[in-house]
Subunit: 323 residues, 2 copies
C-alpha cells in the first residue's frame, strides 16, 4: 500500500489531497497519513499543506525497493528485494537468503558495506550513498563447471547498463573487471553452492563506484580505481543504473539458459579490452605471459604463451602489459 501511495504521488503534477488518495486507494485517511509519514522517514520529501494536500517534491538518493520497483515493474529480477542501510557484505546476506530459499532474481542491496568483498578475499571499498553494492540470487539448472559463464554474463550486462545510462562505453578485463579510462570502477564476485552434478544457487555480487570522488579512496586503490562520476564529469542516478543492470542481466540470463554460453561470449567480446593484448596471467603460483587470443567455449581465456604454448585459464588475474 505504501508503494501505491507513492505511485499515486508520482503520477500527479500538483498536490493531491489526503481525501482523494483515500478514495482512490480505498483506505482510511489515517492510513494514508501513516504511509506518508513512513515515506518521509525514508527520505522522500513530501510537502503537505492544509487545503491543497500532498506534493512529492523529491525522491531520496537511496536504492529503496519502492524506487527500484518503479523501474523494474515488468521484470522478474528484483521482484523480491532485501534492502539494508548497511551490511557486512551483500554476498554473505544473499547466500544466507538463498540458503533459506530466496527465489531466483532476489536482489540484496545495501547503501554501504562494512566488509565489502572482492575476488580472492580482497576488500571492496564500500562507502555510503555513492556506490552500488548489490547481489542477485540465481538458480540456473546447470552444473558447477558452467558457473564461470555467469561471471561473463554479469560483466556484459553491467557494461550494457553503464553505456545505456551514461553514454560511455566501458571495457571489460577478463573475466569481469569493468574499466573506464583504463581504471577499474566495478568488480563482480560470483559465488556458488553446488554438488558435483548441479548448482544449488549462484550469487552474483557487484560493487560499482558510481558517484564517489576517487581522491577519497584508500591510498592503495587511488591510482588504479576510478568512478563513473569522475569519468563522466557529473553524477548519475544509482537507481537507474542498478535497474538497467538487472534488466540487462535478466535478458542475458534467459538467452544463456535458452541458447547456451556462445551468444553471451559474443556479447562479452564486444566489450573486451583483453583479447588481442599482451597479458600476464597469474593463477595461484603460476605466472604465464603471452597474448590473450580468444574465449573458449566454456568461458576460459585462451592465451598463446610467449613460449609458444597455448593454455586455457578458467580463473586467475590478468595484467595487461604495455607492448
Amino acid at each position: 500500500m505504501k508503494c501505491k501511495v507513492l505511485a499515486l504521488l508520482r503520477s500527479q503534477q500538483g498536490p493531491v489531497s489526503g481525501e482523494e488518495i483515500s478514495l482512490q486507494l480505498g483506505v482510511s485517511r489515517t492510513a494514508v497519513w501513516k504511509h506518508i509519514q513512513t515515506l518521509k522517514e525514508e527520505g522522500y520529501e513530501i510537502i503537505s499543506q492544509p487545503g491543497t494536500g500532498y506534493l512529492l517534491k523529491e525522491v531520496p538518493d537511496l536504492l529503496l525497493p519502492g524506487e527500484l520497483a518503479y523501474f523494474l515493474s515488468d521484470s522478474i529480477f528484483g521482484q523480491n528485494i532485501e534492502y539494508y542501510r548497511t551490511l557486512q557484505s551483500t554476498n554473505e546476506q544473499a547466500k544466507a537468503a538463498a540458503d533459506q530459499g530466496a527465489p531466483e532474481g532476489t536482489l540484496v542491496v545495501a547503501e554501504s558495506q562494512e566488509e565489502g568483498k572482492g575476488r580472492l578475499g580482497r576488500q571492496w571499498f564500500s562507502p555510503e550513498g555513492s556506490g552500488i553494492y548489490a547481489t542477485v540470487v540465481l538458480r540456473p539448472p546447470l552444473k558447477p563447471e558452467q558457473a564461470p559463464g555467469f561471471t561473463l554474463m554479469a560483466a556484459a550486462a553491467l557494461a550494457q547498463a553503464v553505456q545505456q545510462v551514461t553514454g560511455m562505453a566501458p571495457g571489460i578485463k577478463w573475466p569481469n573487471d569493468l574499466l573506464l579510462a583504463g581504471k577499474k570502477f566495478c568488480g563482480i564476485l560470483t559465488e556458488m553452492k553446488a554438488e558435483m552434478d548441479r548448482i544449488h544457487y549462484l550469487v552474483i555480487g557487484t560493487g560499482i563506484n558510481v558517484n564517489m570522488d576517487p581522491q577519497l579512496f584508500p591510498a592503495e586503490f587511488r591510482d588504479t580505481a576510478t568512478s563513473i562520476k569522475k569519468e563522466l564529469g557529473q553524477e548519475v542516478s544509482r537507481i537507474r543504473l542498478l535497474s538497467a543492470y538487472l534488466k540487462s542481466m535478466e535478458t542475458l540470463y534467459r538467452i544463456y539458459l535458452e541458447q547456451g554460453l556462445s551468444p553471451i561470449i559474443e556479447e562479452w567480446k564486444a566489450w573486451s579490452i583483453t583479447l588481442g593484448q599482451s597479458v600476464t596471467l597469474t593463477s595461484g603460483h603460476e605466472v604465464f605471459r603471452g597474448r590473450a587470443i580468444d574465449i573458449a567455449g566454456n568461458g576460459g581465456l585462451v592465451v598463446l604463451g610467449d613460449n609458444g604454448e597455448q593454455k586455457i585459464f578458467h580463473s586467475g588475474e590478468v595484467t595487461l602489459r604495455n607492448k
Copy 2:
C-alpha cells in the same frame, strides 16, 4: 577425562578399582564414578563389583567420538567430531558447521538420518544402527573446477577401507558408486561452497550399507542395493570401517594436494568397473551410448560413442550395459 577413564579400562585385562583409576588419573573417586555412569549411559557395558572394581565388558555398537578417537589417535581427520544419534542429513550439518568455521578434517557422523541425501536430490535410506552416515569437511586451496577429483578420491579411499576391513574388493562405478556383486552398497555426495577462483569448503558425505538386511530396504532399492553384511555373510565393525576410511582419505588427500590428481586417478582406476565397459551415460537431457575408455586428467569420464564421437563427461549417471 571421560576418554581417559575409558582408555584405562580398555588397557586392563581384569577389573580395576575406583581407587586405582583415581590415583592413576589424579581425579577424585567421585569424579571417576560419575564418568563411569556417563559411559554406561552411552551404552558401554561396565561391570562394577564391590571389592574388585570396574570391568569393561562390551563397547556399544555406536560411532561414538571416544571410540573413533581410539582408532584415529595419529590422524588429523576426525580430530574434531560432531556426533548425533539422528540428523536430517550429515551433509547439511557439515555445511552449517563449515559455514561457522569448522576446521579441515571435521567429521559429522549420525546413527541415522531422517532425510539422507543422495546425488541429484535423491533419498538415501538411513536406518539407525546398521549403516554409516558420515561427512568430512575439507578446505583444499584449489579451484572449483578441481572439485570433482575429490569425489574420485573419496571413492578410492572407501574402496581401500572396505577391502582392508572385510577382505572383499568392491568395484567403483564412475564417478563414485561402490558395488559388491554388482549391487550398490555405498554412495558419496560431494558438495561445495566456492567462488570462481577458489573453493571455500567441500563436504564429502558417504552413506554405507554396512550391517543391514537388504530385504528391509524400501522396495525401489531392493533389487539394486546390497550391504556388506549380506555379501560377507557376517557383521563388520562400523567403527573400524569408518576409521579406516578416514585414514585412507587423509593419505590420498595429502597425495592429491602434493602431487595433483594423477596418482588419485591411478588409484581410482585400480578399483574401476566402468572402464572398458559399454555404458549409457545420462547427463541432464543428454543420453550418450558408447564405451568408457579412460579418465581424463581432470577426472572426467572419456566415452567413445557408438557413433564414433569421443566425449568427456564431468557429471552424469552411468549405466553399465550388457554386451
